[in-house]
């Protein structure tokens, strides 16, 4: 919403809205339910321009989160590998917008029956933003990955990212 419009109708905004640094109300997605959304969608009313802007912002923050070195590696090879801290010989291969690929060194047994782990965010996110978040989960909270991952026999795009 343009600033002049918001000034004109500012009284309509809910009193609990939080104002961001760029003077827009923060959307707090944890307060909403998202089950009804079609796959790979941000919801009704999201225009092509909104998607483009969301992806641009997501790219910025993903780059900041990962740091230059990892970001460059991701751009050049198309994935990032993270060795498991819990199981020697097991590596998680993370790709933007896709399931995690589980790779095992010879002689290593995977804890899962299949090689792909389906893990989605609870609410819709641009896929590069979620990629960076998933990287943090795998690196810093592997227990959670072991607990929530849904193993699948095939690769596929994630349904909750766009």
């Amino acid at each position: 919403m343009p600033p002049w419009w918001r000034r004109l109708f500012g009284g309509w905004r809910h009193a609990s809205d939080i104002i961001t640094a760029d003077d827009g109300a923060v959307e707090r997605p944890w307060l909403r339910r998202w089950e009804h959304l079609p796959k790979r969608s941000a919801g009704l009313g999201f225009t092509r321009a909104d998607y483009a802007e969301a992806r641009r912002r997501a790219r910025e923050v993903a780059r900041t989160t990962l740091g230059e070195e990892l970001w460059e590696r991701l751009q050049s090879q198309g994935y990032l590998d993270l060795p498991s801290r819990r199981r020697a010989g097991l590596t998680y291969r993370l790709r933007v917008g896709r399931r995690i690929e589980v790779r095992c060194a010879p002689g290593t047994r995977s804890p899962w029956p299949y090689d792909y782990l389906c893990i989605n965010p609870a609410y819709p996110l641009p896929e590069e933003e979620f990629f960076a978040q998933l990287y943090l989960y795998v690196r810093d909270d592997e227990e959670r990955i072991l607990r929530v991952a849904a193993p699948q026999p095939w690769d596929q795009a994630l349904g909750r990212t766009f």
Binding site: E27, W30, R56, R57, I119, N120, L125, L136, A150
Partner: protein, 77 residues
């Protein structure tokens, strides 16, 4: 100056605060703390920037942290 990157379908939105000793700064800090607490209560995780790198963090909100990020809860399938 600290900030929270609130990841959402907009890419992310930013909430900022200053640590100066003013009423406005205290209100900003209280609001930032409330957002972090509320997100955690709803299953989200928080990361903070440490030595230029984001790490998942379970400690209470600290206004001296340069940058927090709210990380979406995850589910299998």
């Amino acid at each position: 100056m600290g900030r929270i990157l609130v990841a959402n379908r907009r890419g992310h939105q930013v909430v900022e605060w200053t640590t100066t000793d003013t009423e406005e700064a205290r209100a900003q800090i209280a609001e930032a703390e409330r957002i972090i607490r509320e997100a955690r209560e709803h299953g989200a995780v928080v990361s903070k920037k440490v030595d230029g790198k984001h790490v998942l963090d379970r400690s209470p909100f600290d206004p001296n942290v340069e940058e927090y990020q709210i990380i979406a809860p995850i589910a299998g399938g």
